[in-house]
Symmetry: C2
Subunit: 248 residues, 2 copies
Amino acid sequence: MRNVKLTLAYDGTNYHGFQEQRGTGLPTVQGVLEKCLCRLAGREIRVTGAARTDAGVHALGQVVNFDPGAWAIPADRIPLALNGVLPEDVAAVHAEEVPPGFHARFSARAKTYRYTIFNARIPSPFWRRYSHFEPRFLDLEAMAAAARYLRGRHDFASFQAAGADTKTTVRTLFEAEVTRTEELIFFTFRGDGFLYNMVRIMVGTLVEIGLGKRPPEEIKAILEAGERARAGPTVPARGLCLVNVEYD
Amino acid sequence: MRNVKLTLAYDGTNYHGFQEQRGTGLPTVQGVLEKCLCRLAGREIRVTGAARTDAGVHALGQVVNFDPGAWAIPADRIPLALNGVLPEDVAAVHAEEVPPGFHARFSARAKTYRYTIFNARIPSPFWRRYSHFEPRFLDLEAMAAAARYLRGRHDFASFQAAGADTKTTVRTLFEAEVTRTEELIFFTFRGDGFLYNMVRIMVGTLVEIGLGKRPPEEIKAILEAGERARAGPTVPARGLCLVNVEYD
């Protein structure tokens, strides 16, 4: 049995998320990828994704693995073959053979997400698909200070979508940074795992701090409370991008 | 009579060009803008654009002028009002009162266009709407050297779409530059006027030079010939952007 690790980039605007929702007919990145692999390989191929990105969320480095079976193509030729048949909003970036035990989701050691806010008086027609527009003044120092309280090992229950069911809500954030380049504010989070909507709720909370509605140190109390209602709103999906997934 | 100068940015992907094609029902930037102005002003407003950008061509700084008539809004409030009703792929950037004699097209002294090529092995889902994808090696030095022959006052008849009808095909390019930032190659042209498809044909010719199919100095012979057939192909619209329009 072969096992191929494939890295994908995609513009998630026109997809109902990464994960295929069988029987619904909704377009998903996994569905499109599996259809293209089937077309090339002449048989059905199912892929396993590292992260279940939501509708409208983008990726620069989503990772999947699959068994190409009888499809006798060297792994390094797969991106070129796939890019010939994939739609323009999905690109195969890299492929390599990996040991049979490699699992895109369970073998992952860290993931990095980036959230982008377009912070200017006038919205940008070019960034609208890839950022959330916020015209009000955002205090970068306050948001960066607040992000430092998110770093480390915490129970992130307050930053999980209400109703989500997870065995443990403890996660470790290795990095939590807020930086600015002209009109763009980037929120970068690197962690061992993320709860459902966690990045979008963290950013929604940091934005309230940036607007001066809460002080940076309130993050500590929100983490301690363990209640979704204590954190800020969930910012829109379009600003979110899965940057990469790391493995041993 | 009032006269308002309005600067617009737009993603041209979903439009059949800037100029309204009355009676066709095709979506145009001018059509959308006039509809929004009418909604705000309560009466029909017609605008005059500086450049008739083609289907799929973008703008960072298109300029229009119009008479707001009885619509008693201060010019500096127009962008905010318009951005509340314009679709997300069009943005009003700036507005100011100008003398009655100002005409967006005839008063223009220079325009700057930028063409973007995404030059990498793998296409980018994020740049696909705003660039032309070319995976082959492009010799930047050769293209920059060729662009220098385009600078200045020339008869650009060879770089005009076949069948176009213009009084004179003499234009002056104040700047013609080729630069690279990571995977992106930018072709920047600033001139007193541009013939139909001129930028896209100049870039198509420079690409042939970058691919090594022609030497840079062939530009001189192409200019002298005055025949469309001597120049290279017309590159796709999606890579083209009207950066700004200058006035006295």
